[in-house]
Symmetry: C2
């Protein structure tokens, strides 16, 4: 399968939705991908099954605060210099790249890598959405090492990290991203084709394109884009349930860049006296409460979208007065496993509650 130039905006739109508010604003990534495709014609997207067991696969993306990603331009060479260094360390060429997280700008980050290296992108990712921290990747949950990893920054600096503890790796990488101005490119969890096949979230890149396309097509036909989004998500199998949690206006917003993250909360007031919703975020939206009752919880996806266009509003783009819908979607089954929840469930974010599925919270389940 090819990713053509006409797919890029769909991929950006779909990835923004899957980012659950985070993953970095896709705007610059889209521009960089368009420039890359103008040079190379198209990107090759291969299914996980096509990987040779002994292939060298490199997940990549950006680490930092999304608020910084919209203010500080990359130099354009971060991706390729990080990947070339990984090749030098591994003593061999990279066979394929994949997004460490499909969400937001990071869903498009490997396109630039693929164009530069002349390798395919694998139709999968490491998070099935976006998460704020490196050790929240499914690869860590499944016991793979994040190292060696390579961080490259706009100033031209390059750092290699090696540790056998993925939490230490996150701590080091986060400190580096802060020291480097709040954002850096990172190649991490280099792995074999066999490990990718056994552990990555399959099909997420093509799913993102399908989601973006459904929204665009509905808009072109003057149909409801939210209905189209829900149908597209159901069809994927990866995100089997989707729900409009709330329809309202942003009446309060607290957001700060702290410890290398964008953290805060947004409060919405419903139209027609339908109460209030509060959404907390750390780069990504983590919990949605309506009048004190939990409506959705991480790792399920919570995305705030423009109520007319169904454009995703990432956490760093939230503004007072925006009229929005809050959409929730069931996370891929791999993220809801009991072995995964200690890493990416509500307790991992200090939310003080165990995970409850979107279906159960909203009585969608037939018990």
């Amino acid at each position: 399968m090819h990713i053509e130039r006409s797919d890029l905006a769909d991929l950006a739109r779909g990835a923004a939705f899957l980012g659950s508010g985070g993953g970095g604003d896709p705007y610059y990534s889209l521009l960089l991908a368009e420039a890359a495709i103008a040079r190379c014609g198209h990107f090759e997207l291969v299914p996980l099954e096509a990987l040779a067991d002994d292939a060298l696969v490199a997940p990549c993306g950006w680490i930092g605060a999304p608020t910084v990603s919209v203010e500080k331009l990359p130099n354009g060479g971060e991706t390729v210099s990080g990947l070339r260094r990984l090749e030098k360390i591994m003593g061999r060429q990279i066979d394929a790249v994949l997004p460490i997280e499909i969400g937001g700008g990071n869903g498009l980050a490997p396109l630039i890598a693929a164009a530069e290296l002349g390798v395919p992108i694998v139709d999968c990712d490491g998070m099935g959405r976006a998460f704020p921290e490196s050790q929240m990747a499914i690869f860590n949950i499944r016991g793979l090492s994040s190292c060696p990893s390579v961080l490259t920054a706009a100033c031209g600096s390059l750092s290699v990290i090696e540790t056998d503890d993925n939490n230490t790796h996150e701590r080091i990488a986060r400190a580096l991203s802060v020291a480097l101005g709040g954002i850096a490119h990172m190649v991490e969890y280099p792995m074999s084709g066999a490990d990718a096949k056994a552990n990555a979230i399959p099909g997420s890149v093509s799913t993102a394109i399908a989601i973006g396309k459904a929204i665009r097509t509905a808009r072109d036909r003057r149909e409801d884009p939210f209905t189209a989004l829900a149908k597209a998500l159901e069809k994927t199998g990866l995100y089997p349930h989707c729900l409009t949690l709330f329809d309202g206006k942003i009446v309060d917003l607290e957001r700060e860049t702290r410890g290398g993250f964008s953290v805060g909360k947004v409060i919405l007031e419903g139209f027609n006296g339908s109460g209030r919703m509060e959404v907390l975020f750390q780069n990504e939206n983590l919990i949605a409460r309506q009048d004190g009752e939990i409506r959705a919880l991480v790792p399920d996806l919570i995305t705030i979208m423009d109520r007319e266009t169904a454009d995703t509003i990432t956490t760093e783009r939230l503004k007072y007065g925006q009229r929005v819908k809050v959409i929730a979607a069931a996370a891929p089954a791999m993220l809801r496993e009991s072995s995964a929840l200690p890493f990416i469930g509500p307790q991992a974010f200090g939310l003080g509650t165990d995970f409850i599925t979107l279906e159960r919270l909203n009585a969608l389940e037939t018990i």
Copy 2:
């Protein structure tokens, strides 16, 4: 020349004095060096001139807050793993090591490296004393690159840094040291023998041993150790002037660990109504003022010592009530050059004054 076991305590004592209050408490370094010498018999100390022009020379030491260095034990393998990685990056063996700074524990740090690698220590260093930041090394002042550098920490992690800007390198390394618990071992400014010969501060290791020996011998003979210290310093040529600035008691102390440094000030009250002295420090002592008048300024050395034993009290060991002498010594001439002062003079520390020599401040100069 050999460094024998009997020299180690003298080296530690002399390095502590040259640390100007910083460079890390020498206690653990001394223990590690004694353990290393018990295995290898002695250390080989070679003069700068003995280096081949094309030798690979590796400066090493610890980066972090001295307050942490006395609380957090090293794992003992940091040095060798950092040096071995540098060898891998450079594709050749290291021919010799040297202390990045002669001051404090860092004056002994390369001994462990030398024992592990079986290479000599070069009788020189990169600072002629201790300074808090990596870009304050004479090697940066003279235009050499700090990279590739390798940071290793007690947790077993290893980070390689590459950047062509030594200030960015310091920022990255400092952030890493904080993320790694406040202290890490660093191999930096790898250089050729020719570059070491042209730029390092010569003779500082043997000078430190001579200083330590002079103090010890005087104590053994019940002579005044401060007179012996002053004589020893004059004899070195490197530190041509020495002066007792103040004799008094610590009556106030402010010290915090901030941004990866120990920063603060200490106030002394003189015996016999001789006024007050205030000493500001950032890891190292930077400025000494007596009743508002400047008596000594960085890069000249300011060291606070026990007034009976002439043991150096590093900034992290300062305590209320200690009875001390404040000793100042003229910095090596290379550090007082007008090209060096923007990097290591009072303005580099935001002290708001230009450098004035110890001799001029205390009317020692015959003009």
